[in-house]
Symmetry: C2
Subunit: 208 residues, 2 copies
């Protein structure tokens, strides 16, 4: 089971590390972080740098993971990344995204006519790529699996492991990483967060 | 607000990235990954390498985060790391751990007489460091904050942000990372997971 997680300058760390933490525990998994400009790839905050390999070191992954990030320009205009995504998707068993990684799949032409999700603040933008936005934590549409914002990759990847290796393996991984979430607030989605907090986060994103 | 996350060869990625994702979003945060052997520090799976700085580049952090990992020998016998932890703890506002990072704090002598938690499989070992094990997702004991296994750092860090900057800031960060967890199974803790899965994970850990 060869797993490739494609990074780019300005990726959101958890978009990538959630699926990494779950999928790397699949029995027999081999996983690589790849990038069109390999070396050290820095996250959106600038505080984290991850070692990446060239895209062509992982030409035909079984599972492909595309994380997102607040910098839309770079991954949406990276032709080398898009070429690799299209080629990888032709032979992959699963093609997945987290957060605005869905936009990157879309820019590569892989969302046309598909049901998909992304970060709650960005779902309207999916139509631009011919996708039908779905209100869900993650969406399976054939071999395409898209997940909601940032932290949703844990849920998506556990559901994916269940498809790949069965419920017991997925449950064992969940127990191993003690994924028994107890957020101190009900604030993870606009439908549960205090309206003033939703307005604040929307305003910050608009100003950024 | 200076935040230091101490890594070591074989750290568990999410132990570090959970708190990173939340704490790096604190207004005015400056965050560094540090290690006693700086350069590229590899995670427990071998698939991820993170750039780290020397410990002395962050001598007096406001917030100190100590992640864990399945390799107990290295971080539990690293005198340079322990010296740095003790020195950092003398001036920190918050000293925190995720998973078996609690053991590393314990090895540095920072758990004596304190209430603490770690990964569910390792809670009995806390007594070795003079700590009282608590059954909780995370535990505040004065400025010492310990969290349960791997994924618990998201919950702990959000609770910590609430103490540092107030509930509204914590809720805005939770909404920003869409931390609205929907695990596909109830299997994240031995009290909810199927007994056969608990037995399997315990057996795998015993064999490792």
């Amino acid at each position: 089971m060869r797993i490739a997680i494609a990074l780019f300058e300005g990726f959101t760390a958890t978009d990538a590390i959630g699926p990494y933490e779950v999928l790397s525990r699949l029995p027999g998994a081999s996983l690589a972080f790849v990038a069109s400009r390999p070396g050290l790839t820095r996250s959106d905050t600038g505080f984290l740098a991850v070692e990446t390999q060239a895209l062509d070191t992982m030409p035909a992954p079984d599972v492909l993971v595309m994380p997102g990030g607040p910098n839309r320009k770079l991954p949406l205009t990276d032709a080398a990344l898009h070429d690799w995504l299209r080629a990888a998707d032709r032979t992959s068993t699963w093609t997945t995204s987290v957060c605005t990684g869905a936009y990157v799949l879309g820019a590569a032409g892989l969302l046309q006519g598909r049901r998909a999700v992304t970060h709650w603040m960005d779902v309207d933008g999916l139509a631009r790529y011919g996708a039908e936005a779905v209100d869900a934590r993650y969406v399976f549409d054939g071999k395409l699996v898209t997940a909601a914002g940032v932290s949703s990759g844990f849920d998506m990847a556990l559901a994916l492991v269940a498809r790949i290796a069965g419920d017991t393996v997925a449950q064992a991984i969940q127990l191993g990483i003690e994924y028994d979430p107890q957020p101190p607030f009900r604030a993870g989605h606009p439908r549960s967060a205090p309206p003033a907090v939703v307005a604040m986060v929307r305003a910050q994103a608009g100003a950024a």
